[in-house]
Every structure is written in structure tokens, then in C-alpha cells.
């Protein structure tokens, strides 16, 4: 039964938003606004560091792809059978290059659909800053094709 894994949480992990990662992500989305690419431009715009795009947390989660593989192993799911069904990010406050965050990931729900032909796996990662304040949330829904 996969449902027994609902609520499973991995140990908290630390990460720092690195300059190279944020800039490569912005370039990957053809971003040309220098506040996402250049420290001096960001500071000139009144920001405390290089800004990051709203979907950058996906690169933060990919940095911990080991947690995804650990989950698939726990659930006995073939990685070739999964698709990204939906994705949601919630931003409680802006993030900048250089910020230190603590992430906690858990399995929020597992549900069969279409008479078991599909299984939806929902995970949540919550990120907090060094003051313990919520910064952002990553809500990911994967779908497993069981047939």
C-alpha cells in the first residue's frame, strides 16, 4: 500500500541560493533584465542582491533530486513512468542570491485515479530563512502511469 507513505517527511536540509545557479536559471528562461543577472544592477535597483525568478525553487528542488529518487524507491515507482502533472509555488517574501534557507519536504498525498490506472503523488517543500520565517513553498504533483 502506497498510502502508508502519506505524511512521510525527510530530514530538513540547508541550502544557499548561489549566484551561478540563479543566473543560469534566468538565462535558461531568456531573461535579460539585469536585476536577475548582475549584482551591481540589482543593488542599483534597490534590491539587497540578485533577484530570482518565481519558478527558481524548481532548481532548488532539483538540487535535491536524491529526495525524489528516494521517494520513488520507497513507493516502488519506475522513474520512467512519471510525468509532472502540476506545480504551484507560494512566495511569502522575495528571495535573493546569497540567502540561506532551510527546506523540509514531505509527502502530502497519494491518490489513485481512473480505477488505479494513474497514481498522483503530491509533495510539499517549505523553505524558511535563518530567522525561521516562511519564504516559499513548492507544491509538486507527479502522476504515475501504472499501466
Amino acid at each position: 500500500m502506497r498510502a502508508q507513505h502519506i505524511g512521510y517527511a525527510w530530514p530538513a536540509f540547508e541550502l544557499v541560493i548561489e549566484r551561478g545557479s540563479a543566473i543560469a536559471f534566468a538565462r535558461g528562461l531568456d531573461e535579460t533584465d539585469p536585476i536577475y543577472l548582475d549584482e551591481a544592477a540589482a543593488r542599483a535597483a534597490g534590491l539587497r542582491g540578485i533577484a530570482v525568478l518565481p519558478t527558481f525553487p524548481i532548481a532548488m528542488s532539483t538540487e535535491r533530486v536524491d529526495l525524489i529518487y528516494d521517494m520513488l524507491q520507497r513507493l516502488a515507482v519506475d522513474p520512467a513512468k512519471i510525468l509532472h502533472a502540476s506545480q504551484r509555488f507560494v512566495h511569502h517574501q522575495p528571495m535573493f542570491v546569497g540567502d540561506s534557507l532551510t527546506g523540509t519536504k514531505r509527502i502530502a498525498n497519494i491518490a489513485d485515479r481512473k480505477s488505479g490506472a494513474l497514481t498522483f503523488i503530491d509533495t510539499v517543500i517549505e523553505y524558511r530563512n535563518v530567522a525561521g520565517e516562511p519564504v516559499c513553498e513548492d507544491h509538486c504533483s507527479l502522476v504515475v502511469r501504472n499501466t
Binding site: A85, S86, P94
Partner: protein, 140 residues
């Protein structure tokens, strides 16, 4: 400096990517760290996944939808964004991103705007859809 049109039903300035070439897919794979071979290896896409060619990351489409919002309302304006992935985007296809204002909630220091998001291919076929909450600061 709120000069944005917040009329319900009005459209945000659209964003068109033009053809998403293999190089741009590789740039996104590098930037996101998602090097799944279905996005970067045509042999794998054909022989293992049964597709005619590699496909663009779903998160590329969501990223472009988010840029539609930040180009409109500025950095740090996106409070929440969600996307459902409707269909694969083949490499070299173009992505058309659009947003329509669905609701506006006034807050103490500005407006929280709900935007309906749509990403399609050039022929109008759905790629991704969703919505966002965008904060627009009050005029001062």
C-alpha cells in the same frame, strides 16, 4: 507608481518565445538542473519514450508564464503561481503565453490581482494553464 490597467477581463502584454530550439532547451536544462534525457537526448526520446523527438521541459512553459507576470508587475510581485501541464511541447515549437485579469482584491498597500494563465502552441493547442496571485503596489 501604479500605472497598470487592473480592469477585470483585461489582458496582460503577451509573451511569445519563438521557436524553442535544442540550444534553448539545453540552456534551460543547464539552468534548472533537469537533465532528464527526454529533454536532451533525441535517441532516448525516440527509442525509450516513443516520441518523435525531445520535448521542452514543462517547467520551461511555467517559467515563461511567470516571466509574463514579472515583466508586467516587476520582480517580487508574484505571490503564488500554479500550472497544470496539459500537453507536451515539441522541440522547435513556439510558445504563446497570455494572462487575463480575473479578480482584484484591494489590500492596505496595493492590490492582489488574480491572473488566469494560458500557454499554447502557435496553432492554439493547449500546453499549460493555471493562475497566479500578483501583488501590485498602490500608486504613490
Amino acid at each position: 507608481m501604479n500605472t497598470l490597467d487592473l480592469t477585470i477581463g483585461s489582458a496582460l502584454p503577451p509573451l511569445s518565445t519563438g521557436p524553442v530550439t535544442r540550444h534553448r532547451v539545453a540552456m534551460y536544462a543547464h539552468g534548472s538542473g533537469d537533465l532528464n534525457p527526454i529533454h536532451v537526448d533525441p535517441d532516448y526520446a525516440r527509442d525509450q519514450a516513443g516520441l518523435p523527438d525531445v520535448i521542452v521541459h514543462g517547467m520551461y512553459s511555467m517559467g515563461m508564464l511567470s516571466r509574463l507576470l514579472t515583466q508586467w508587475a516587476g520582480p517580487g510581485s508574484v505571490r503564488a503561481i500554479e500550472t497544470r501541464f496539459a500537453a507536451m511541447l515539441p522541440v522547435k515549437a513556439s510558445l504563446e503565453c497570455s494572462g487575463v485579469i480575473e479578480a482584484v482584491q484591494e489590500t492596505e498597500d496595493g492590490s492582489l490581482v488574480t491572473v488566469k494563465l494560458t500557454a499554447t502552441q502557435a496553432d492554439g493547442s493547449a500546453v499549460a494553464a493555471g493562475q497566479a496571485q500578483v501583488f501590485v503596489a498602490a500608486a504613490r
